[in-house]
């Protein structure tokens, strides 16, 4: 081994220990000595760091193995121990072999992992579906064109007949002139081009991708009747009469008139000012007439329609759309008011009450961090930027819990707010809706911030906890911290076979007060994992037992102790609370963290 290689091997170790904060004072001294006295060592130091930066951002492409790690990892060979092996390898490399290459790692076609196979199948199915949809759309457009042409022909014929009928009353001399007029009118009607029936304008958008690339993607692009399919992104459309809608891809919509649209599939939120009152949206099963309001509408694949009214009220007509005339058959009418939600079941005129959710719809153009969270389709997502958002839902606020400004949102320059709890008995309890939420697998994610507690006797305070009241009447999980800034994750697992409940507690890491941290907890049938700032900091394997279910989430609040009850805490702020019905992957969590790193 040359002197330089010796230094490289030594520096390599020093850098890794330093980055992990496990370096001893002696080795720290040695690191400084090498940097100060040896130019080659400095180069190597920077080389080591560049490798570390690359490894930190390692991509899945670089990993040539499946990501499924068995619970028991295969052991490293014994020759990997210690510096002896390091030296042996260095020796090998010196003799010309660049790097140890597995024979199987040749660029031959490799066997796909199960995950990749599934991804390929999904992509293939998506492609097939897209082709089918494209064909259907073309067919539908052709039908629409024929119908419109027929309609125009009838209108022209009708106008001509009307004029002709009137001129019959005139004298024979006048009749000749009248015939001329009729002919002129007929020719005019025949040759007159159909006016460009623009009914709305594109007033905002983000990452817009229409199925038809000819559709506008820029500000003030004019839009008219015809079925449009938004494949990706978000679009804000303002109708000529003033109603404003935001579409969230994938969506299929027909802007029929300046105050009327047909939503075939997907999600929209509508904001209808007073001057546009009477704005109407049809779906395959319902017709919504606005009475000065804000509402969200979701038409699902099966044709059922969910309506959530945020402000004002709407008139909801349920029934089946008549394909020929476009009117509703067998209709049932209801008035739906702010804070209420209804579902119109496909294939019937039945209207169901459903739980009102304020946050299920995009009401303003999303920011990059919001997009990253929404990409994975959260079941619940609270940004805490609007007071009404939490007040009109099922949040129960106690004490001095409030929405406070915490700086500027990236992009709009608007104020970014968070939920402030945990001080002087302030708390927030989220009491659902939990329908369809994970009970055995999922992700709970949020940003947290806390102040150093004044009262040193309060040695522990809760950041959040989930309660399982209806099943086992226990606090099923919690993240809490102590005065030494250590963060703990505590949770209960339930074994279905034995019926046993088990408590688990793990120390996650040290946190610093007055700093924002991103926390994510994922759980599935076998494992619970904790991530801080996109990095996994804890994992627990709990076999066939699973994490206890949730009836309520206590945010900030006081620490709940079974014997003492609630213990008051310190000032805690919570933001961007998201709950998913699936455990997100490490990569997805990292992406969400980095996308919001401007916080």
């Amino acid at each position: 081994m040359t002197k330089e290689e010796n230094i490289a091997a030594e520096m390599s170790e020093l850098v890794i220990l330093s980055l992990d904060k496990t370096i001893t004072p002696e080795k720290k001294k040695r690191l400084n000595e090498l940097i100060v006295s040896n130019p080659k060592a400095r180069k190597i130091y920077l080389d080591c760091l560049s490798v570390q930066i690359g490894l930190k951002h390692i991509s899945s492409i670089s990993i040539n193995q499946s990501l499924d790690i068995p619970p028991q990892l295969e052991q490293l060979p014994s020759e990997m121990d210690g510096i002896a092996y390091l030296e042996e390898l260095v020796e090998q490399e010196k003799n010309g072999k660049a790097i140890e290459v597995e024979e199987t790692a040749e660029p031959v076609e490799r066997v796909l992992t199960e995950e990749e196979c599934e991804a390929k199948i999904r992509a293939f199915l998506r492609e097939e579906k897209a082709i089918d949809e494209q064909e259907r759309r073309l067919e539908e457009e052709a039908r629409c064109k024929i119908r419109r042409r027929e309609l125009r022909r009838r209108q022209r014929a009708h106008r001509a007949r009307t004029v002709a009928a009137k001129v019959k009353k005139y004298s024979t001399i006048g009749a000749m002139a009248a015939v001329g007029m009729v002919l002129a009118f007929y020719l005019y009607a025949l040759l007159m081009p159909v006016p460009p029936a623009s009914v709305a304008k594109l007033t905002d958008g983000l990452d817009i991708k229409w199925a038809d690339p000819g559709l506008p993607t820029e500000l003030d692009g004019l839009l008219g009747p015809g079925l449009m399919k938004l494949e990706e992104g978000y679009v804000e459309i303002t109708f000529d009469e003033g109603a404003r809608i935001i579409l969230e891809a994938p969506t299929e919509i027909n802007l029929e008139k300046s105050n009327r649209a047909f939503l075939k599939l997907g999600k929209l939120s509508a904001d209808v000012p007073i001057q546009a009152r009477g704005f109407k949206i049809d779906t395959p099963t319902a017709s919504i007439v606005d009475i000065g309001t804000e509402f969200g509408l979701h038409v699902k694949e099966d044709g059922s329609s969910d309506i959530h009214v945020f402000k004002g009220k709407i008139s909801l007509l349920a029934g089946k759309i008549d394909d020929m005339v476009g009117n509703l058959l067998n209709k049932v009418e209801q008035i739906v008011e702010a804070g209420q939600a209804r579902r119109v079941i496909a294939g019937s005129s039945k209207i169901q009450d459903i739980h009102f959710v304020q946050t299920g719809f995009v009401k303003t153009m999303p920011l990059p961090n919001e997009l990253a969270v929404r990409k994975n389709d959260p079941a619940i997502y609270y940004r805490f930027n609007e007071k009404e958002e939490i007040l009109s839902d099922t949040f129960e606020l106690g004490g001095r819990a409030e929405i406070v400004s915490v700086g500027l949102d990236l992009g709009k320059g608007s104020t970014n707010c968070a939920l402030k709890v945990g001080q002087s008995d302030s708390f927030a309890i989220f009491d659902g809706p939990f329908q369809g939420l994970p009970q055995k697998a999922g992700t709970l994610m949020m940003w947290i911030w806390y102040e150093q507690p004044d009262d040193k006797e309060d040695n522990e305070f809760n950041i959040f906890s989930t309660m399982d009241e209806s099943h086992h009447n226990v606090q099923s999980s919690s993240i809490h911290a102590d005065i030494n800034d250590k963060l703990f994750f505590e949770y209960v697992t339930f074994d279905e076979d034995s019926g046993e409940l088990s408590n688990h507690e793990c120390e996650i890491m040290m946190l610093k007060p007055a700093r924002w941290y991103h926390i994510a907890i994922t759980f599935d049938r076998h494992n619970t994992r904790v991530y801080i700032n996109g990095n996994k900091v804890g994992e627990h394997y709990h076999g066939s037992a699973y994490l206890g279910s949730w009836d309520k989430i206590y945010l900030g609040t006081e620490y709940y102790d079974l014997e003492v009850g609630f213990i008051s805490g310190t000032v805690i702020m919570i933001d961007e609370l998201a709950i998913y019905t699936q455990p997100l992957s490490p990569r997805e969590i990292e992406e969400i963290y980095w996308s919001a790193n401007m916080k």
Partner: protein
């Protein structure tokens, strides 16, 4: 269906300033982070400083003059933050002495200029690792497993795992160097 296009324009909310900032920070973040890490060789602290740097860069983005060196501007902000951080910490908490910092700083800025290229070479080098080495790297860096947990799973001492990671880092470092030599960059 009317497909009339207006004059090219911008959406009020897809703010061009944001887009410009994101574009610049995305292309420059490796270099700024590399600079920070070279002066604060502690992953957690360097991450925090990078976060703070990005926030300040965004807050002061109106002061940034278009066309000037964005990374150099970011580094100057990071430098102030690092100096403040060093002032606040006890000397025993700091890993590098003032002397070491002074010497390494200038070299670091120059070195980080081709960091993106080095990182892209590294991705290829990782693919060439043996299956076992790749497995270990995946556990430590892709899955973010702490060394302690890996050691427990492998039934090995923590020290042994550190040695193994250090060895792999050494192999990767050589692989990157060799490629740069072949490309005539070194």
């Amino acid at each position: 269906m009317v497909k009339q296009q207006s004059q090219p324009n911008q959406f009020p909310n897809s703010n061009p300033v944001v887009k410009q900032f994101l574009k610049l920070i995305t292309s420059g973040q490796y270099r700024i982070y590399g600079y920070i890490l070279s002066l604060v060789p502690k992953s957690d602290d360097a991450d925090d400083l990078m976060q703070e740097t990005t926030i300040i860069m965004w807050e002061k983005f109106n002061e940034y003059e278009e066309g000037t060196n964005f990374v150099a501007w970011g580094i100057s902000i990071a430098r102030n933050l690092i100096m403040n951080y060093r002032k606040k910490q006890k000397s025993s908490y700091l890993y590098l002495t003032d002397e070491a910092i002074e010497i390494i700083e200038a070299e670091s800025v120059r070195y980080m200029e081709d960091l993106e290229h080095r990182v892209s070479i590294l991705q290829d080098c990782i693919k060439k690792l043996s299956k076992k080495d790749n497995h270990l790297i995946m556990l430590r860096y892709y899955q973010n497993e702490p060394v302690k947990a890996i050691a427990q799973s492998f039934g090995k001492k923590i020290k042994t795992i550190y040695k193994s990671i250090s060895r792999i880092q050494f192999i990767l470092m050589r692989c990157v160097r060799r490629t740069l030599l072949e490309e005539g960059i070194l």
